[in-house]
């Protein structure tokens, strides 16, 4: 099914044709200037070839007009590259709000994938066609990079933080996943496949999987297991901030700074609780670094996010099992 000698990558995402259009524009401008310079050099080299060893051509004074022209015109052309490219880059960094959420953990040398409703896979990513998918990526060890050429999508996967990327597949099929950031011995084996399916087939695939528990409810279990609710609770005994409705809200810190509670903030608050102390609380929370895996952290984040959504959590996830327990988080 795959071409044996392709010269151009498949276009399988909504972004791919947009990147390719800009690429062709760059190619056209570059070909024009490369040809211009090559032809000028060849023409001059032939026309003005040395005919006798003693000839001395007259000197030439420079020309301000020409210098300005060949500085300003290329500059203006590069501005068109800049604006077009920046526009695309913005689009690549703005996932649509209703996107399907999938989290991916890279480790030497495999990709571990968790779907929101609990499906897990390794080195294979099943997604529906025609639906935006938002990836939350992190690494257990060194820097990796999640690269799907057919989607023109690439994002570094950095330990200690979450990166996000998104795509909307437009054509069913199987597409390469590569790790594009050198990560050690088996770097070139850290590859996989994206399987783009019809929405119906995707639903069937989801239903046929083994994952029974959604990400958020797995997070709720972890929350209870680590006794987070001892401190993060809504009543007067709370020694940590209330986590209900936290996600996406502005948080005021003890040192006067404010920030918006996003995934990275929640993650940091679990592994390094005292980096940012919420105003009115004491730095008493112990770190959970090393006690909770990267996948567990992603589950906790999903749980805390689910506390901010009215009713059942996104993507049809059932409500967290621990709904009745006092939920609060330990973010600093």
């Amino acid at each position: 099914m795959r071409e044996t000698f392709p010269l151009f990558p498949q276009q399988a995402s909504s972004m791919a044709p947009r990147v390719d259009n800009l690429y062709f524009y760059l190619l056209a401008v570059s070909a024009f200037f490369a040809a211009l310079i090559a032809l000028a050099v060849i023409y001059f080299a032939i026309k003005y070839r040395r005919r006798s060893e003693s000839e001395t051509p007259p000197g030439v004074e420079g020309s301000m007009k020409l210098e300005v022209a060949w500085s300003v015109i290329p500059l203006l052309i590069t501005f068109t590259f800049f604006f077009w490219g920046a526009n695309l880059f913005f689009a690549m960094n703005r996932p649509p709000p209703d996107a399907l959420e999938i989290s991916i953990v890279g480790k030497q040398w495999m990709w571990k994938i968790q779907h929101a409703d609990g499906q897990r896979e390794i080195n294979e990513l099943h997604v529906p066609v025609g639906r935006a998918v938002r990836l939350t990526l992190t690494s257990e060890d060194v820097i990796h990079d999640f690269f799907v050429p057919a989607f023109r999508m690439k994002k570094d996967v950095v330990p200690g933080r979450y990166s996000t990327a998104w795509f909307e597949a437009t054509r069913p099929g199987r597409y390469h996943v590569f790790c594009a950031q050198y990560c050690g011995t088996k770097h070139s084996a850290m590859t996989g496949w994206v399987e783009v399916m019809d929405p119906l087939a995707f639903q069937n695939w989801l239903a046929g999987g083994t994952g029974s528990e959604s990400l958020a409810s797995a997070g709720a279990k972890l929350f209870a297991q680590h006794a987070c609710n001892t401190c993060h609770r809504p009543d007067s005994l709370a020694r940590g901030p209330n986590l209900e409705g936290l996600f996406g809200k502005t948080v005021k810190l003890q040192d006067g700074r404010t920030l918006v509670a996003d995934e990275n903030y929640i993650r940091e608050s679990i592994v390094m609780p005292n980096a940012k102390i919420v105003e009115g609380f004491q730095p008493i929370m112990p770190t959970f670094q090393g006690l909770i895996s990267e996948e567990g952290l992603l589950q906790l984040v999903a749980y805390i996010k689910s506390l901010s959504k009215a009713g059942p959590s996104p993507a049809g996830i059932p409500p967290p099992v621990k709904e009745s327990a006092p939920e609060r988080e330990a973010p600093k």
């Binding site: 005292n274 980096a275 730095p283 008493i284 770190t287």
Partner: protein, 230 residues
């Protein structure tokens, strides 16, 4: 100094006969002095960038972990730090006086001030070694044995990584400086320097002052940041 290539250059040197210290590639003593002085300034610019990488890392982490840095800073010995700061400032004074003595041809004063500068540098390094010893004893050296009570252990380890990197690099510069001063002392004893030629003393002086100035930045950034945050 080792004139191993003398056969290749001696004829030419003779052709540009001048003061003994004038090297063959220069036409005049002024040109040679300008070159040496410019060379040292360019080198100091390099040095600023060299420390600059660490100052950048410090700035990034301090803004990220302000409280932790303040807490970690409290475990540094401010008395010894202040003492060392005074020692270095005095050594800059003696270095400046050494340059002055060389330029006015006072050989004994030059020797005395150079030795005083070296001694002060030695005191600084000795105190630094004592401080490092305390940190080692208190398990504040980053690595598997690092212990920091309270909630800030991890960022504090970054603080102490930077502390050792920055003060260690500074101390290495002090050692090099003392080495340069040793050479100056040996040359000065032979009477090499006088009002007509004291460029090496001047250039080493620039280096010594630079190393002192680095400390003037390191001291508040490392020792004093905890003093105003509670």
């Amino acid at each position: 100094m080792a004139d191993a290539t003398a056969p290749a250059t001696s004829d030419a040197s003779a052709a540009h006969a001048g003061p003994r210290e004038l090297q063959h590639q220069f036409d005049t003593v002024e040109q040679q002095r300008d070159a040496s002085s410019l060379g040292m300034w360019v080198f100091l610019v390099t040095e600023i960038l060299f420390f600059g990488g660490l100052f950048l890392a410090y700035t990034v982490y301090r803004s990220q972990y302000a409280r932790a840095f303040a807490e970690a800073s409290r475990h540094l010995d401010i008395t010894l730090g202040t003492f060392n700061t005074v020692v270095l400032i005095v050594s800059s004074l003696t270095m400046a006086l050494a340059v002055f003595s060389a330029s006015t041809g006072r050989r004994r004063a030059l020797l005395a001030f150079l030795l005083a500068t070296m001694a002060l540098g030695g005191v600084f390094l000795g105190v630094k070694a004592v401080e490092y010893g305390h940190k080692f004893h208190d398990h504040l050296v980053p690595g598997p044995h690092f212990r920091f009570p309270g909630p800030y252990a991890r960022p504090a380890e970054i603080f102490y990584s930077l502390y050792f990197a920055m003060t260690g690099l500074h101390a290495a510069h002090m050692v090099i400086g003392i080495g340069l001063l040793t050479v100056l002392v040996l040359q000065a004893r032979k009477g090499r320097y006088g009002p007509g030629y004291y460029t090496p003393v001047e250039v080493c002086g620039l280096y010594w002052h630079f190393v002192d100035i680095v400390w003037i930045f390191l001291f508040p950034l490392l020792y004093l940041i905890g003093r105003h945050i509670h």
